[in-house]
Symmetry: C2
Subunit: 307 residues, 2 copies
């Protein structure tokens, strides 16, 4: 079933303890679309870039079946640019530069052919823009998943809360869940955040896995222990893309199937961090993915009889 | 099968964001013995206390089936005392006071009735003392599990490495695994640490669960998300006690059964943190434990068909 992906398509320059890149393609919607395209042939992108953005990457997306009709290319303008440096523990980073450029006045246009989409993934963006996308869809999608970050909690909390109220699934990290709820316990935080609107909450914990909360139910998926974590940029977006891509593919939004979707999201994220940027996602084979899904199954499997 | 537990039996004074205690009973071997006594009726304690230590706690251990013949009570001396204050995130703490007292020259005595034990749990202690216990057993136990901490890596690394070489399972936390191996990746750290001797490595990650490594195999057990984490003191020791207690009960030291043992250890630890000190462990029912084991099973269960 068809899926709209909204978010940044941009340039990143990344420094990790293992290396450094010049400007490479990044942005939430790049990672989400690439990950989702492994599951559904009907991914539809809404984003904006400047004339400096490489045609080759757009063609690659199209080649993976991503519809780019909703990707605006602004002549005479520059793409969004972010630059950051990871600390030695890879769990924290400093932002070195943020140039909004075309993102400063991003007005998301929904092509007519995108209407009637059943799945909507709102990648991290200004909450107002995320809200505009929902409002511009004539029919509410079957499932709306929204990603956001602490930055918006600090500068646009009211807008953020309004947007959160409109979505089904919110994905944030553990620190953001604590900040948004004012609760240290993630169980208590999940209860408070669900009361803000979303019936499902995914708390991302990076190398420590992810939790899915729904009412009193909770599911935990570990991150795969990896020999090399090369660059964590985009791991959360890739996770979200795998998650909603799998749901769109199966057309089943039950809690039980969301667990499977989280395993697929975690598998996709485990590939993402193995190379810089989107490099590892671009040429992923189905066999590699299946091998990794099996590794997840083995990782948590135990055979204690029911007591 | 019978199990020897070595470690501190002591007093703690604890401050957390949720409250503060006067001197209460603590110490690695207190937590380990209490946890293990839920599984095996043949737990044998080796420790030392001063004459200030409450008889009531010793009687409670005996009541739970713990043999205290190897617990030395030093007249005219004081028990080991530790005092600490947890930060708001409960993941880090400051030590406010450490009074070694009887622990300063602890000479572990192994009663004749303890010889021929099949399981040995070396709680966190001076590595030399841990080694002495192994040497004083005429027959090497079937399984030796050792806990230690960063403190010994800093002040007694050579002794520590000698002792590590003699054990089957080492339990340390993620930061300690990184420190001991010089590797940031836990997968690489596990390979290096296994090369130091132990065939099994358990990496404890607190609220983020635990990893069991053995050769190329890895198992992950999450921590149960809890509404209230009241006091993390002793959680790692309780985990170790549940782990080795379950192995001693079942008599099966295969990798597959160690996975089960880790789930039981994690369940025990989840109780430990719900109240101050050993309070929650003292009156634990079998039904409470079974309910929690089922919660672990639900937490990680997903139904993706094999691919």
């Amino acid at each position: 079933m068809s899926l709209i992906v909204v978010g940044s398509v941009a340039f990143d320059a990344i420094e990790t303890p293992f290396g450094k890149t010049d400007k490479i393609v990044g942005g939430a919607a790049s990672y989400i679309s690439l990950a989702a395209s492994n599951f559904t042939g009907s991914t539809k992108l809404v984003a904006v870039v400047g004339e400096d953005f490489p045609q080759a990457f757009i063609q690659h997306l199209q080649h993976k079946g991503v519809n780019t009709e909703g990707l605006q290319i602004k002549q005479g303008e520059k793409s969004f640019f972010w630059s950051g440096k990871y600390h030695n523990d890879m769990n924290s980073r400093d932002t070195l530069a943020t140039e909004l450029n075309v993102l400063a006045d991003f007005d998301p246009i929904i092509p007519e052919s995108y209407q009637d989409c059943e799945y909507l993934m709102l990648g991290n963006l200004t909450p107002k823009v995320q809200q505009t996308v929902i409002e511009r869809l004539r029919k509410r999608p079957k499932l709306i998943v929204m990603d956001t970050m602490n930055f918006w909690m600090e500068i646009a909390l009211d807008d953020l809360k309004q947007t959160i109220k409109m979505v089904d699934v919110l994905t944030i990290n553990d620190e953001e869940a604590r900040q948004l709820s004012g609760e240290y316990s993630l169980v208590k935080a999940a209860i408070k955040i669900q009361a803000m609107g979303p019936k499902y909450l995914i708390i991302k914990k990076g190398e420590n896995g992810a939790l899915l909360f729904h009412g009193k139910e909770v599911f935990f998926a570990p991150a795969l222990p990896l020999e090399e974590v090369f660059d964590p940029t985009g791991a959360g977006d890739t996770f979200a893309g795998g998650f909603i891509g799998y749901l769109a593919k199966t057309g089943d939004i039950s809690f039980e199937n969301m667990k499977n979707a989280i395993i697929y999201g975690s598998a996709m994220a485990s590939f993402c961090v193995e190379k810089f940027g989107t490099e590892r996602l671009v040429n992923l084979t189905e066999e590699e993915m299946n091998t990794r899904i099996n590794a997840f199954r083995q990782l948590v499997k135990f055979n204690l009889a029911s007591v």
